[in-house]
């Protein structure tokens, strides 16, 4: 069972109170983008064994979207953070580095 702390209301929300929103930190390629970029934006997703960044919504609760960093292998949660950012904050990166030295996820490390 996955338990994430909603960074907005502070509730320890269990998985059934949440709705998964897929991969985090996608860069949108819209009108005018190349076919390759648009295809990658629409379809290409990370599928890591280990550190992963996701979007979640506290749907049966305050209703806010937020980000979570967790390990897909152990379900360990490294932290949750605001949705209003395009990259993980330093505190989250440090928390991951403490547990998984040398981790990398897309352009983040």
């Amino acid at each position: 069972m996955l338990t994430l702390q909603c960074p907005y209301c502070g509730v320890q929300a269990e998985e059934t109170e949440l709705h998964a929103g897929g991969e985090a930190h996608l860069k949108r390629f819209g009108p005018g983008a190349s076919d390759e970029d648009f295809e990658a934006y629409l379809f290409m997703r990370e599928n890591p064994k280990g550190v992963h960044f996701e979007r979640w919504r506290h749907v049966n609760g305050c209703g806010k979207w937020f980000h979570a960093a967790r390990c897909t292998m152990t379900l360990e949660v490294f932290g949750t953070y605001s949705a209003q950012t395009s990259e993980p904050p330093q505190s989250i990166r440090a928390a991951i580095s403490a547990k998984r030295p040398g981790w990398q996820w897309k352009d983040f490390a």
């Binding site: 907005y8 209301c9 502070g10 509730v11 320890q12 269990e14 059934t16 109170e17 049966n60 609760g61 305050c62 209703g63 806010k64």
Partner: protein
């Protein structure tokens, strides 16, 4: 003007706890910057209770304020006053960024009363929330789910849970609570702690 009736029309059930429909209640959603003085004044002005802190509820009788999310309050007033209270808040907040709507007839409010351990146990059968006395107590409010539907509840005191759900699922929630409170279904989990 038609006569308003609540979804369950005052239904009651006595089992491990007493379950009752609270009938018509005024419920007004108020969204905006909860830190703003104008919004606090508008909410406390019509509700007549203090502004609640995060995840807290302040209620006195049929009046109260529930903290629903970082930008949302639920204002409780007697049903007959709800329209006027909504207009009062709209007038008070005119010109600022806010949203308020009278949702009284879209919602249902239920209550269970009984011994402190029994009411916790009945709720704990239906919701994923940690209801141990250390984690949730009088004055706390939580928006979550009861079985398959969204609901919010708070504890006015140790013996009571008040539950708000959508009117359309009121009979489902009533039946859920009825089953959870059926005689002979006591687990006694909170009696041990």
């Amino acid at each position: 003007m038609s006569d308003a009736v609540s979804a369950l029309d005052g239904a009651t059930y006595d089992g491990l706890v007493r379950l009752e429909d609270l009938g018509l209640r005024g419920m007004i959603t108020l969204r905006g910057d909860l830190a703003s003085v104008a919004l606090k004044n508008a909410a406390t002005g019509v509700a007549g209770v203090d502004m609640p802190a995060q995840r807290r509820a302040n209620t006195v009788g049929e009046r109260g304020l529930l903290w629903m999310s970082p930008d949302e309050l639920l204002v409780l007033v007697p049903h007959a006053e709800a329209d006027q209270a909504t207009r009062t808040m709209q007038a008070t907040l005119a010109g600022t960024h806010f949203l308020t709507e009278n949702l009284s007839d879209a919602r249902a409010m239920l209550r269970i009363t009984g011994t402190p351990t029994a009411v916790r146990e009945v709720m704990a059968k239906l919701t994923p929330v940690d209801l141990s006395p250390d984690a949730f107590g009088p004055g706390d409010v939580r928006r979550t789910r009861l079985a398959q539907v969204a609901a919010a509840f708070w504890m006015p005191d140790h013996n009571t849970f008040c539950i708000i759900c959508f009117r359309s699922v009121a009979s489902y929630v009533f039946d859920l609570l009825k089953a959870a409170a059926a005689p002979g279904s006591a687990v006694g989990y909170f009696d041990q702690s």
